[in-house]
């Protein structure tokens, strides 16, 4: 029986009835607590299962040639070097392009657009982009950069990943800047500093570890993105660092290898999956530790 329902029944006078009601309420409570703990356990089991599977299958497939050889046809002992380098290049460039834009937008929302209608619209749109299906970003960049400029290219992949990281940086930059007390801003303005100096030299500096956290989480997110790269940088089985040509990347290579019928390619896919998951999880844990050490 719920607490809101019992007053309607009136106070229970009979102690036997009261005891029975009480024990029933306690039973319900215990059952739901147990189920909730079980749900948490299930969530943890899933995480553990993913990690154990990755280690079991990926560790066996891991050896030095994975990191030193480029992708080769099945049966000829290839590695993942070109895919790893391609991913590093695209993720690094996307981060370099997306971070300043995201920081400016976040700064605009926190420092210039408080309460303004335009700012509300920008915040809304940025939040929609944050959760929008990444495959649509890929289709958009395909329409915008691949079709008109004659083919798949590393630059198109960079653009797609940059669009994905921007809203992540916007969110954290705005949140971190809003944590700064207004008295600090007033003190800086009171000293006669122009507003841009206040923002760059005081607000950004106080919020920097939070913003870096956001950027790290953003890197972790785009490093594993597969769907948008299908339509932009496409993938490449040869060594290529030419950004105007199709470019290999780790997620795309994993995708095509995992779906292949060749056992050695599937094993390479597991090795790549282990690499990428470790990188992503370490970035996440690192980012969280950084944020916590600040507080």
């Amino acid at each position: 029986m719920s607490a809101t329902a019992s007053p309607a029944l009136g106070p229970v006078k009979d102690p036997k009835v009261a005891a029975r009601l009480g024990s029933r309420r306690k039973r319900v409570d215990v059952v739901i607590r147990t189920l909730s703990l079980a749900a948490t356990g299930i969530g943890l089991v899933f995480l553990a299962s993913i990690l154990v599977t990755l280690f079991a299958k990926g560790f066996g497939a891991m050896n030095l040639s994975v990191l030193t050889e480029v992708t080769r046809p099945p049966g000829s002992e290839g590695g993942l070097l070109n895919a790893i380098v391609g991913s590093l290049i695209q993720v690094a460039l996307a981060t370099l392009i997306g971070t300043p834009i995201g920081m400016l937008v976040g700064t605009y929302l926190a420092e210039y657009a408080r309460g303004s209608r335009f700012g509300d619209v920008v915040r809304f749109v940025s939040d929609i982009l944050l959760s929008a299906p990444s495959i649509l970003i890929g289709l958009f960049v395909y329409q915008l950069l691949v079709l008109p400029f004659g083919g798949f290219s590393g630059w198109a992949g960079v653009a797609a990943l940059a669009i994905i990281i921007i809203p992540i940086v916007v969110r954290t930059t705005e949140d971190m800047l809003r944590l700064i007390p207004n008295t600090l801003r007033e003190a800086v303005i009171g000293l006669g500093a122009p507003k841009w100096k206040m923002v760059v030299m005081v607000c950004w500096r106080s919020a920097i570890s939070g913003i870096i956290t956001g950027v790290l989480l953003g890197i972790a997110r785009i490093a594993g993105e597969t769907a948008p790269l299908l339509f932009t940088s496409l993938g490449n089985n040869a060594w290529s660092t030419d950004l105007s040509a199709p470019m290999p990347s780790l997620p795309i290579t994993i995708y095509s290898y995992a779906g292949s019928p060749f056992q050695d390619w599937i094993e390479l896919a597991w090795a790549g999956a282990l690499l990428i998951t470790l990188a992503v999880l370490l970035l996440n844990i690192g980012a969280r530790t950084l944020l916590r050490s600040r507080k």
């Binding site: 719920s2 607490a3 809101t4 319900v28 409570d29 739901i32 607590r33 909730s36 703990l37 749900a39 948490t40 969530g43 995480l47 990755l54 299958k57 834009i101 937008v105 700064t107 605009y108 929302l109 210039y112 657009a113 335009f118 700012g119 619209v121 920008v122 809304f124 749109v125 940025s126 929609i128 959760s131 990444s134 495959i135 649509l136 970003i137 289709l139 669009i163 921007i166 916007v170 841009w196 100096k197 923002v199 760059v200 997110r221 993105e225 597969t226 769907a227 299908l230 339509f231 997620p251 995708y255 995992a258 896919a269 597991w270 999956a273 990428i276 998951t277 992503v280 996440n284 844990i285």
Partner: protein
Amino acid sequence: MQQATTMTLGARSASGRRGSQLGDTLFAGACQAAGGFVLLLLGGIIVELFLGGLPAFKAFGLPFLWSTEWDPVSEVFGAGVSIYGTIVTAVLSILLAVPLAFGVAFTLTELAPPWLRRPVGTAVELLAAVPSIIYGMWGFFLIAPLMAQYVQPPLIDSLGELPGIGALFQGPPFGTGILTAALILAIMILPFIAATMRDVFEQVPPVYKESAYGLGCTTWEVMRNVVLPYTRISVAGGIMLGLGRALGETMAVTFVIGNANRITTTLFGPGNTIASVVALEFGESETGSLKLSSLLALGFILFVISFIVLATSRFLLRSRLKG
């Protein structure tokens, strides 16, 4: 001498002020332009997807939305099956994920000892960090065989015989299919829903909970009669956020849904979603073909659906965002 110094000082500060005004204008302009750029991005996505899909919309008209045909040979395309698959897998995944997420949030806010809350919370959040393609491989190589061997046969034997709902649990146990896709999706969106629920549960003023405890309520009664009513709008917003994520998930679904263009009544049957069709068929479509245009049209439809869901989610969560 005295006067000269004052004058140069004055001149310098005046030019300094002009310089800083210029700096202010430039910086504020750059920030605002970046904000405008974000709007352009969203506008660009809408316009480009719509323009790309326009030939398909023109060729097939409104029936494109419910036509179940997908025939690349005779160039007849319809979105019916993939829209159905997208919505069914997303809704099923919500049904599976919400009880789990509630359990996690309840544990993290009320049940677990404080020293355990942060590590467990972080672990659940790490589920959100695992890339989609990893879920796909894990689902395909581990979960699908488990489903085929241990989950689907008993369900088919026990529930498949029942009238009515039995139709949901029939067919050969392939392991892959709609139910497996929904299960993987549920695990992927679980951390998003759980994190939102935990955050809003923590915002309930302790006095409310304490007064309920003071009346003799059990932990569950406090959750049901105080915390949930107080946070129900934000909880709905968190669920919508999860739904929005589930609708557009691509790689994991592509691995496990079985990829067949038909509507089946059984949960074990293969199907497809908008995202999985686009990912799989894109490579086989020629530039400028009606097929490619149909895929872009599918993308536009997916965008409209996710936009509505995500906008609703934000609307419901706005009270929380304002703090």
